[in-house]
Amino acid sequence: MAKLAGVAIEVDDLRKSYGSLEAVRGISFTVADGEVFALLGPNGAGKTTTVEILEGFRSRDGGRVSVLGFDPAKGERRLKEQMGIVLQTTGVDPYLTVAETVDMFRGYYPKPRPRDEVLGLVGLEDKSDSRVTKLSGGQRRRLDVAIALAGDPQVLFLDEPTTGFDPGARRAAWEVIKGLKSLGKTIFLTSHSMDEVQFLADRVVIIAAGKIAAQGTPETLAGRQQATTTIRFRIPASVTLPETLRPGARLDGDSIELETKDPTRALYELTSWAVQAAVSLEGISVTQPSLEDVYLDITKESAGAPA
């Protein structure tokens, strides 16, 4: 299988069952070179199965998979030399130092990235001589990323990289990943955090019950930008809305919620009426459904489907 220009990962009709359970039921997608690609889905959706097939840890039952032009199931060394993997579990020798650990892994690769650069990328320069036992949880996770970067890989797999991080550590990790993208690396990310995906991903695939439920950019996923926009505001009880704005409006406590598919026109009509009538629109807000709303909607629909 030759590598197609511009394509880092190709998955076509991927299938995998465990006994009678069909974990992955015909998934297809493509990841471009240099892209940050996010695979989302609830627990048990087939996320980890898919990632581990791409990483070469699991076999598949059907379909075609290509990572940098290689079939990962064959476990070829030339592919492993170009892949960096951050697993959910760590498994680093606690008695070695950070520098020794990174050097140990650097030695496995033909063209490793210099150790100081690797530690710089993940912000562990100061911990170089610390033993792994002395690191905090967040620092260990960064060491995981450092190990994955040791061989200067083309493709990086990050399986829930910031689970259990405090907000500061999470933000720092995101900056690291952004930095890797700017180096031209292809990044395959799985996550439970919608903020993370929103911040990092160029493209998102949501899987549920072993199938692709939606895909797109974080901004346009599932027609998010065309979805209903909600305009919320408060007006004095003595004032009534004009006829044209009444459809789609409802009272929520002392606020009015206006749902519209055409927010530009609705806002124009609302504000020009308010200015003319000298009514103050208090606490006005305009919201689109968040990525999380879209995600919950999609995965809720799919949860009803037979497993």
């Binding site: 840890f57 492993k80 579990t89 760590t90 498994g91 070695l96 020794e100």
Partner: protein
């Protein structure tokens, strides 16, 4: 870097991790000496008549028995346990996802265990000679060294193979001790059995522990001849081959829960 060089480099890291864990290092090294002292105190260290007019101290027989035990402990028990723990921690999976060849990694772990085993045997023999007057091998030294290396390699291979039936690290001590301790008791290691009764004799002859113990004791002290126990070594070799074949076929990189 060549794959052999990668293995040697890996040994350096394995050893560094051991040396940095003082409790582990101390008990690893002191282990055979504790047994040597206990044997000599409990069973005595008198003069044993081996030929008309020739006696040796009884420690001459304790030393190779404890050497056999040390090799089995360092290779079979330690490899099986530490591989199980590495598998549970995710370290094995991580190695599996890296370009380090599987056999370089296994070779490193096995060679490290063999080197530790040899070191323990040297410590045990030196202590036995200096403190308890044990007679060290001279003309049978080549046979002793060969037996030692063959045994260490065979029990390492079996230590790797047995991890296939160890589901997770919690189960490792039970499985490892359950497979090796009974054999140690019926295989002339802890207790020399003069005339073992029926089934004990049969079991001892099937499994590799007694063959190793007999070959090691027989090549440590021998009045004449090379001390080489070819038949025992052949049985050991067969177990070694079986260990490698089963290990390669059934090795698991991830724990089962």
């Amino acid at each position: 870097m060549s794959d052999i060089k990668l293995a040697l480099r890996q040994i350096w890291y394995i050893n560094k991790a051991l040396v940095r864990n003082p409790a582990s290092l101390f008990f690893t090294l002191i282990f055979p000496l504790m047994f040597l002292v206990i044997f000599s105190v409990v069973f005595g260290n008198g003069h044993f008549l081996v030929a008309p007019g020739r006696t040796v101290r009884v420690a001459t027989f304790y030393v190779p028995s404890i050497a056999a035990f040390s090799v089995i402990n360092s290779c079979y028990t330690n490899i099986a346990m530490s591989l199980s723990f590495s598998r549970d921690s995710g370290a094995l999976k991580r190695i599996h996802g890296s370009p380090l060849p599987v056999w370089s990694y296994m070779l490193a772990r096995i060679l490290h265990a063999v080197l530790i085993a040899i070191l323990l045997v040297v410590i045990c023999a030196a202590f036995g000679a200096l403190v308890y007057g044990a007679t060290l091998p001279t003309s049978t030294l080549p046979a002793f060294a060969l037996t030692l290396v063959v045994g260490a390699a065979v029990f390492s291979a079996l230590g790797v193979a047995v991890t296939a039936v160890i589901p997770n690290a919690d189960a490792a001590p039970a499985v490892v001790n359950g497979t090796i301790l009974p054999l140690l008791f019926i295989s002339n290691v802890f207790i020399p059995l003069e005339n073992p009764s029926g089934w004990i004799d049969v079991v001892g002859k099937i499994f590799p522990v007694r063959h190793f113990a007999d070959a090691l004791v027989g090549s440590f002290f021998q009045l004449s001849g090379s001390g080489l126990h070819t038949n025992d070594l052949l049985v050991l070799g067969a177990w070694g081959v079986a260990g490698v074949v089963l290990g390669v076929r059934f090795f698991q990189w991830e724990p089962r829960t």
